[in-house]
Amino acid sequence: MATATRLFGSSIKRREDPRFITGKGIYTDDVKLPGTTCAAFVRSPHAHARIKSANVVKAKASPGVVAVFTGRDLANAKVGGLPCGWLLPGIKLPPHPALAVETVRYVGDAVAVVIAESAFAAKDAAEKVEIQYEVLPAVTNGLSAVEKGAPTLHSVAPGNICFTWSIGDKEKTEGAFRGATVVKQHLVNQRLIPNAMEPRASLASYEPVTGDLTLWVTSQNPHVHRLLMAAFVLGIPEHKMRVIAPDVGGGFGSKIFVYPEEVVVTWASKQLGRPVKWTAERRESYMTDAHGRDHITDAEMAFSKDGKIIGLRVKTHANLGAYLSTFAPLIPTYLYGTLLSGLYAIPAIYCEVVGVFTNTTPVDAYRGAGRPEATYLLERLVDLGARALKTDPAEIRRKNFIPADKFPYQTPVALAYDSGNYGPALDRALSMADYRKLRADQERLRREGRYLGIGFSTYIEACGPAPSQVAGALGAQAGLWESAHVRVHPTGKVTIYTGSHSHGQGHETTFTQIGAAELGIPWEDVELVHGDTAAIPFGMGSYGSRSTAVGGSAIVMSLNKIKEKGRKIAAHLLEAAEGDVVFEDGKFFVRGAPSRAKTFQEVALMAYLAHNLPPGLEPGLEATSFFDPPNFTFPFGTHIAVTEVDPETGQVKILRYVAVDDVGRVVNPMIVDGMVHGGIAQGVAQALWESGVYDSSGQLLTGTMMDYALPKADQLPFFETDRTETPSPVNPLGVKGAGETGTIASTAAVANAVMDALAPLGVSHIDLPLTPDRIWRAIRGAKKGGRA
């Protein structure tokens, strides 16, 4: 039994693990209901085409088929389009029907659904749906799409421009560039495909007698799913719809959004009066899970003679794909432009972003979401600056850090950093890496014709977007608070209901650690419920590294209310003044007289017996709270990658990876380390391997795990991690986000390490991913004269 006092900050083994290691997890596809039918979607093989006709006669006659629906059927039934949850001024909002009606706009765009007695029968029949297309010209690249003569996707968005957005002071920034040392770079932040290991799935069950509808879905935010589907798409009364996100096998952003398939199966279940299930095949995941990144950027950084960054100018074309996914407009704007100060004191920044429609899968939040793009850009430019000014990359960073005594710090791009102390993380990372020795090794190896590279990424992240009022003013169509209901049972056992959701993060462990630590009761006495709209008041879910900072804080608020009520009851029982009763280690006692005490369990029992309560006090012991944080939290840190590049083959080997992060106070260090490892792996993979590629006609060339290079165990090193701890002042726990730091930092660290390795060969920049082919060509190009 873990003792209460040591619970917070303790690496307890995870409570959710026993079911996962024995095969007893229940993921959406594992849920079995009697009479379930299976759905198969008919998808466009073309990137852009007009639907001339849809013939479903043969499909309907196929054995086992229950129903076939097309986009026209959904339109006739007045099924709404998929909504966009973040609106920018002047944004163009083209309709996004769940099944295409007249036009398909990307490969994989769903045009019809077949529902049958088995998955086999549905898939067989789906092949018999006859769609005639008139193929239209397609465009997949974010810059090409805004050129004159490019095919237009949506009549409401001329030139394929969805929005133009800017932040910062343009004139001041232009002034900063006059006479300065300037580094410029054209950067491509390539498209990524999330690849949560569990494919998306949904199972809808409508009960005709009661009118109740239950949807099991791979969701990071079941309440958001329910609200958007009930109010905006299907018109089902919200209170008649229950959404359950059971065990969810990873999300990384891709399971935040409302997708066509879950809308269709939910609607179809109501039409048929039977459960309808759909589980994505992996090729469908590649085609239809919202992709990430895909920026094309021109960026310039101005330095003073003494190496201070004095200006930053950025223009980005952000590829949004064919339609607006749920939070698409937010990612390349308020989660990107606002991060462009990094952890540096940069007096003038201006950033302009053009959001562009193309004939590709919609793009939305993928782990880091906007912040990796900002960090990669900044950290590449700082490195190019260091090279131009012949300064050590660690020192140029240190020189530009916001000093520790300047917090709270207002950046020129809207954010106000609450706290920070950036030097110690850099120092710790340098010492862990043994930086001086590494540089000496690098020199020695270069003389032997070997190319070692040392790359830095000193990064900041903004987690837990907040507060709701500001988010609303900036275009959010939702609040960004979190709820927690804490129910104390008569025996003093506790159930916590959180609106947050765990799909790998380990909430069942960490949130109960918080509860047990605060109440001074055994960890085993606290249970967590998440992922079910029928049990939880409301919730915004998990994304943006917000779970503990926002959801954990809501729990603390409810626990405080329970302690307050408990104190009233205890004071009454102890015949003491309420102000004299203190609560520590699970006991209410009179100050100065610890033996005059009532245990938490005794007080809980009396709350329910109600035989002897203070006059006017209601029986029972439970509390609901909603925490709306006053600000984001701002984790930061220093990552150092050490790579060796083989100049003959272009092969990169990661020799070491050092990460020092500051995520504030830590509830469970083991879990935080695990998230950092996984985050680093995803960011490293962007630097070296992963890339979502379309050909010029809009076919997705990386549509299976055979073609899209996910990292494998033998490509990665062990990660060397440590932490500094600067508590966040914006929440009662002092915690920050920890889920995305690794991904945000590591792409730049590895890219900088490879460029550092290639420096003697005259190569200064290669776009991601840094595949052997690209590196080899860059080396050859540099040899032939002219820098790469």
């Binding site: 290991m197 096998g249 998230m675 995803q682 055979m706 165990a713």
Partner: protein
């Protein structure tokens, strides 16, 4: 045109008539309701569906149920004995070798074969041995540690 098969799964002999095109993984999941074996891809890359068939780790999405006729199959549900976790399961728990848990059953079954063939693997050998299993959460760091934990524990037995 269903075919009769008989497969011994986790020690119990099961007899069913199945479609010839039914994959072993779907037989386990849909017919036997053993949903611990997962499907993560269609192309035999991810390894989430790994089970032991006749003492060999196989990807059950690449085997037809009819090919398993007469075989002995061990799935994640059959690994713990008498309520006692197998050392590999224990290793994954102790060393935090999982987050979302979806790849975990396949990882564990693959590790089982790896350690049977090579009871004292180096870290590099473990990483190579996981070539056919993908994890998106852990960066593999703690999976390697979990398998080393199991190797040490199994060596003591």
């Amino acid at each position: 045109m269903n075919r009769a098969i008989s497969v011994t799964v986790n020690g119990k002999t099961r007899k069913h008539e199945v479609e010839p095109r039914l994959l072993l993984v779907h037989y386990l999941r849909e017919v036997l309701n053993l949903t611990g074996t997962h499907v993560g891809c269609d192309t035999s890359q991810c390894g989430a569906c790994t089970v032991i068939m006749n003492d060999m780790a196989v990807k059950s999405c690449t085997i037809l149920a009819v090919q398993a006729d007469g075989s002995k199959v061990l799935t994640i549900e059959g690994l713990a004995q008498d309520g006692q976790l197998h050392p590999i399961q224990e290793g994954f728990w102790e060393e935090h070798g999982l987050q979302c848990g979806f790849c975990t059953p396949g990882m564990i079954m693959q590790a089982l074969q790896m350690l049977q063939r090579n009871p004292k693997p180096t870290d590099a050998e473990i990483r190579r041995g996981l070539e056919g299993n993908l994890c998106r959460c852990t960066g593999y760091h703690n999976i390697v540690k979990a398998i080393q934990y199991a190797a040490k524990k199994m060596a003591r037995k």
